[in-house]
Symmetry: none
Subunit: 155 residues, 2 copies
DNA sequence: GGTATAATGGTCAAAAATAGTCAGACAGGA
DNA sequence: TCCTGTCTGACTATTTTTGACCATTATACC
């Protein structure tokens, strides 16, 4: 029983498998899924952000539209833009979005992505502890647990 | 005398006899047993801990869930010993040794091991910086660079 | 050309749907 | 009695969904 948002995300991504862009009618889509129009905006905001590798353009008024564009870039550009996006500090959500992007671009596979998420999770990086080794221990514990979860899952 | 917790434990374990994982709704389960929701968390914490051979994942919000995963006895042993060895803090060399062990045991493949090493490297976990997000950014940068190295390398 | 109107899409805050945490009450055994 | 394991309730955190209201644009009509 995936959430509505998940279904809408899936729907849009399916439309993006061949093409690198789709054009939608917000209201039609909302009608199709039987939800509030703003639900579409929610999905676009949470699942098709720049960090996740998408651009969204739209226009209101008569024959308006919402256009979703999958961003493609060369490896060098991608790496540069990701590092820049990370910057000097980054929150957990944005970090996850970036990892997800690496996954969708096939830079990492699903297990690698999970490991990465484990490494940057709030759980792994719990502060008030002030020694480098303590942080590392925390990170590594998360990684070990995640590695086991991966193994159970199979690729 | 058969405490409520025991009944809930039994119930979940029965669901796990065939499969190695179950998905639950915390509230439904609490309703079914006519208890406080937090009772479920108590059971999960006390009877389905890592050292008892279980992993628990969950998600909040609409169509949230609690997932319980059973792992094999030998894996429990291994996981337990590794976590114990990591302890409250650990140096880089020892951390690497543990990752190497995971690799030799085929828990992770070579790329995954490299990611893990990147995550716990001295470079990734540079202190004097005192915010959680700054540490995370540092870790993630290392991970991203390593992921790209992996890709160039091929498996 | 200027306006009114219809057709779109956007924003934001509140509600709903979940799950987690923690301190303390309780109960039975050492 | 005191300790330990159970259990609860109040409060918190997260994610999704909805609704009321706002903004923009095309077009029909004068």
């Amino acid at each position: 029983m995936a959430a509505l948002s998940d279904a809408i995300e899936r729907f849009i991504k399916d439309l993006l498998t061949d093409d690198t862009r789709v054009e939608l009618k917000r209201n039609e889509l909302a009608q199709y899924f039987g939800c509030a129009n703003s639900q579409i905006n929610y999905v676009l905001a949470t699942r098709f952000s720049v960090d996740r590798g998408y651009l969204v353009e739209s226009r209101r008024g008569g024959s308006g539209y919402v256009r979703v564009i999958r961003i493609s870039a060369s490896d060098v550009e991608l790496l540069g833009s990701l590092l820049q996006r990370i910057g000097g500090e980054i929150g957990e959500e944005n970090a996850k979005a970036i990892i997800l992007r690496l996954y969708e671009l096939h830079v990492v596979d699903v297990n690698e992505a999970r490991l990465m998420q484990a490494a940057v999770s709030a759980e792994a990086i719990s502060l008030p502890i002030s020694s480098k080794d303590m942080i590392r221990a925390s990170v590594l514990k998360s990684l070990v647990v995640q590695a086991f979860k991966n193994m159970r899952e199979g690729k």
